[in-house]
Symmetry: C2
Subunit: 398 residues, 2 copies
């Protein structure tokens, strides 16, 4: 034991019923918090390696030791108490995970898969080798490379991305020309930079699948997602008007990526539906994903439960939709600090509304919760979810 | 602070987002555990007064101080940390709750309502005054009273019940004649005994409603429940073949009882559908109830969420069913100690099956979990749920 890892574990194995699986999740954000809802039902003991004593998931589980996920001794000690280690985020160093795996720890997804969600350059290269369609892309070393890339791929604007560490729009720049100041910003970070074609897309889609170690896999209905400033704000399941053969194509692409990369757990494949008809992979995430939150009420088995089942090598649950349409809208931090105040109005207005708060204090733009509505009429369902999210955020007051 | 109440509370109010409600639930059984699933979603901090450090709900919440719910200092200290106090069971002494309420604590349901779920003689008397139909009944002081009651109500067999403290068939005796040894058993307990008509019933029904302090109430669909040895084993929602006007009558009876008694939270009214056509109230419970577990997946809003909403005086959620039929079957402890072993088979056989384990070690007949199936075809849905429960229990092995 070492590092900052000091907190006593409340439940040793002997305190739990015989056969109780213990899942160690690294990271105490809302994904771990929502995973706990599924863990409670299945009688799984979820233990969280938390960034601090009061983070989102620490409020919701019995055991949430605080420790630094970059510290080998901390992560080793945490892993020793679990049957399997999995993740709320992709930031644990790949080498540390390789070391854990070599020591016999069940790391799921394993580092050889996870690296494709950690490093965008590695991801692009691998997708090319398995013929999964990506936007045009190239690792660039400086302004000349950027200009060359733009020339080769149809001109500016293009996208620059840090290959590691970006999320929710951070580490991504739209570059309008060779002298755009964003180029200097991107290279200032001192990390390798990936240039990508700025895809002219009709909309964004997401394919969420789950895969277990012995290869069973399930694919959720393809959803449409709306991003604003790089943050997912709204998801509609299933993606309206998507032709069945196109939906099947997107599911098959995601299942193929999961299989080829050896993913265990949930894999989210964010895609562009390009105006020219291409279906292009934008990002990969190997954990429950914002574009799968609708599944808590909208599907037979939530993405959180299927992630747990997958990492424990239990048979996966049906990903089928339970309603014709399910719409999820994120609640982003606004001007209202007390998110609970708006509940009275929202719950009274809509007895079918589903509200999820993450136990996070409000900061502008921060994901502090989401709402879900479902039903037969897409426009009504959307209006219900949008209204509730806007009201909770404080952007409307009636 | 006093009694055995020593454990530090991990989350003080300042550690939680502004406006986070704190609900204190007395009792750490599976009802508290399942309430936590709903609390997590709504951003409610659930704190449990646990019977021991490893009980069902203590495994699933961040704060579960251990203490004796009969000890005034313990309960006062626990209540001081919560916005509202509610219950996983009915065993907290009525007088202690009256004292808490007098001191300004929001006790929900309040003692004046809860006493009707604690004391069967008080309950029967009150139901008579509000013309809610009960089986014939009389508090009896000895063998002569028992014989007189039988003579007056159509003869033996009759039922004897302890007025307080019974549950899951404990404290209930079927008496076949004046010299039946069960009569001596019943009076040996030294507590007041209630004699009741042994109702010749077609089946048992349950009406689950939720009511908030300002009087809003919702009624779940009437369900059919099957009891074995006094323990609920199976629930079908809605009760098959129940005429709509009869279902409405049962719902209205439950809503009227909730209103007249001033219940806050969930009220379950177990009823007999008598062969002679009467609909008779058997038992009352003022907390989430076994006959409402189907609502987790089967209804728009689960009974656990509506209990939380009610005790916090939030608008209640829709109790509407999400599927034509939902069947819940309890998993009772059998010969298999490792309940998780059977999961592989059950989940592989039925990707739509919903499994709930309570974190309880197996003891013969103990409720250690439940399974839920839903769908369009009642016979198929029943077979799925029954098969899974039997397999997990170990009574079948294919």
């Amino acid at each position: 034991m070492g590092g900052h890892y000091a907190q006593i574990v409340k439940f040793e194995r002997k305190d739990l019923p015989v056969g109780t699986p213990v899942v160690g999740m690294i990271g105490g954000g809302q994904l771990a918090r929502m995973t706990q809802e599924a863990a409670i039902a299945l009688g799984i003991q979820l233990r969280v390696l938390a960034e601090g004593p009061t983070v989102s998931a620490a409020q919701a589980v019995a055991d949430a030791p605080v420790g630094d996920y970059r510290d080998p001794a901390t992560v080793r000690a945490f892993a020793a108490e679990a049957d399997v280690v999995t993740f709320d985020h992709e930031h644990v160093p790949t080498e540390l995970l390789r070391e854990l795996e070599a020591a016999g720890v069940a790391v799921r997804p394993g580092p050889d898969a996870l690296v494709h969600a950690q490093d965008k350059a590695v991801m692009r290269q691998r997708l090319d080798t398995i013929d999964a369609p990506s936007p045009a892309h190239q690792v660039v070393a400086g302004r000349e490379d950027v200009a060359d890339f733009a020339k080769r791929t149809g001109g500016f604007p293009i996208i620059l991305k840090t290959t590691r560490g970006g999320y929710d729009g951070k580490g991504v720049w739209v570059v309008d020309g060779p002298d755009d100041p964003t180029v200097a910003q991107a290279f200032a970070a001192g990390v390798p930079i990936l240039a990508e074609e700025k895809v002219d897309f009709v909309r964004e889609l997401s394919a969420v699948v789950a895969r277990s170690p012995h290869g069973q896999a399930v694919a959720y209905p393809i959803v449409e997602s709306v991003q604003r400033d790089g943050i997912c704000v709204e998801v509609t399941a299933p993606a309206p008007g998507l032709a069945p053969e196109r939906a099947a194509q997107a599911q098959q692409t995601a299942l193929r990526i999961a299989g080829e990369l050896g993913v265990v757990g949930v894999l989210a494949v964010e895609m562009f539906e390009a105006r020219d008809g291409r279906l292009l992979v934008n990002e990969l995430a190997m954990r429950p994903h914002n574009t799968g939150h609708w599944s808590i009420e909208g599907a037979v088995t939530s993405q959180f439960e299927n992630h747990l089942r997958a990492v424990l090598d239990l048979p996966l649950g049906s990903p089928a939709a339970r309603a014709p349409y399910t719409v999820m809208v994120n609640v982003l931090g606004g001007d209202v600090a007390d998110m609970h105040r708006g509940l009275l109005h929202c719950l009274a207005r809509d007895p079918g509304l589903r509200v999820h708060f993450y136990g996070k204090s409000v900061k502008p733009g921060r994901k502090v919760g989401h709402v879900t509505a479902y039903g037969d009429d897409l426009e009504q369902v959307r209006e219900r979810a949008r209204h509730a999210a806007a009201y909770l955020t404080g952007t409307i007051d009636e």
